[in-house]
Amino acid sequence: MAVSQQQASSRDRRTGFVLGVALWLFTLATLWLFGANLHKMPPPASDFAPQIDAILWVILGISVIGFVGLHLYLGWVALSRPAEVRAIYLPADRPKEWLWVLVPIGLLLVADLTFDHMSNKVWGAFFGKPPANAFEVEVTGQQFAWHVRYPGADGRFGRTNPRLISDENPIGLDLSDPAARDDILLINVMHVPEGRPVMIYLRSRDVLHSFFLPPMRIKMDCVPGYTTRMWFTPQRKGNYEIACAELCGMGHYNMKGLLVVEDEQAVQNWLAQQTPFSKRGQ
């Protein structure tokens, strides 16, 4: 190389210094970025939300340890001056020295299994046996709106058939089914009671959508041909936005609904005011 050994090594020291400082600054900046802004998460509003958040915090804690640990080390490597003329020689592959790697990795494995176990509990509850006394709603996604259906007074959803879908009958409700007569069909608005499990059946009439409730920390895809479902117990009254999280076309960014969590009584009163779909336009 054209530059002398000495020049090169002093240049290396300078670059190393800058790199070390930069790595430590990045670490601080990242920690600050997360620390100062986590409160901007939508406040938890369902029974699942605190549980999922707890897992988030556990993983975040592990991540901070790993992230800070490695960056402290990398920064130290960059900042420390190599004193010797030569690097120390560690002949490749002495399994005893592998312990330096394998012990931290073992700890990581333990941590992995811990939060996987936590996660499985929540997952099991979410997909397990649905609660018996649930308040049932059905949501059908279309480009770009949510059709919300309540079973009406009889508590049963009427049959639907995709072949009956038209502009007048947006979810293909089969009115020959008696259970369908009192079904209430609304668009982009959904009222659910606080403190009672809410079971939402999810369907789609065209493409994939994903029913996303940020404050409840859950989402589930609406798959045409399937009926997927999700349930949660709202824990805080208020108006929340329903978002679509799966790319569903041009208007995806604007496929918004309103979720109102209120008293059971208020929900019933509100439902009583709605006209069933079969009587609409009469």
Binding site: P162, G225, Y226, T227, T228, R229
Partner: protein, 122 residues
């Protein structure tokens, strides 16, 4: 040797690998395997005919057919494709990755099942 060399250069082969002549079975072995393939295929056809005539339980029929199919595949790979006469390393290198197909089955089938039992098929 010079003929070999000429040929390699004509075909743009710059690699100097010697041609390796490995042991190969006598013609009789191929004929026997061939015969077995016919027998097995006929067996599979027979299973089909029997299941037409009688009411053979589907799982039994399916497992019989699968076993026969795998036996045929094994014979083809082992003898016709000479796998039996290759080094163990090649056998592992080719056959082990095919196990990933099992992962594909294990990933897709539960979904098909959940379509009928969990989510409800329209």
């Amino acid at each position: 040797m010079s003929a070999v060399h000429e040929a390699t250069i004509v075909h743009g082969d710059v690699h100097q690998e010697p041609v390796i002549n490995r042991p190969h079975p006598p013609t009789r072995v191929y004929l026997v395997v061939w015969g077995w393939l016919f027998v097995l295929s006929f067996g599979a056809y027979l299973v089909e005919l029997i299941s037409e005539a009688t009411t053979l339980a589907l799982p039994i029929k399916w497992s019989l057919l699968t076993v026969i199919g795998l036996m045929k595949a094994g014979l083809i790979v082992a003898y016709f494709m000479h796998m039996r006469f290759e080094r163990l390393s090649l056998i592992y290198a080719i056959l082990l990755p095919t196990l990933l197909v099992i992962a594909l089955v294990a990933g897709l089938m539960p979904d098909a099942v959940s379509l009928i039992s969990f989510w409800g098929h329209p």
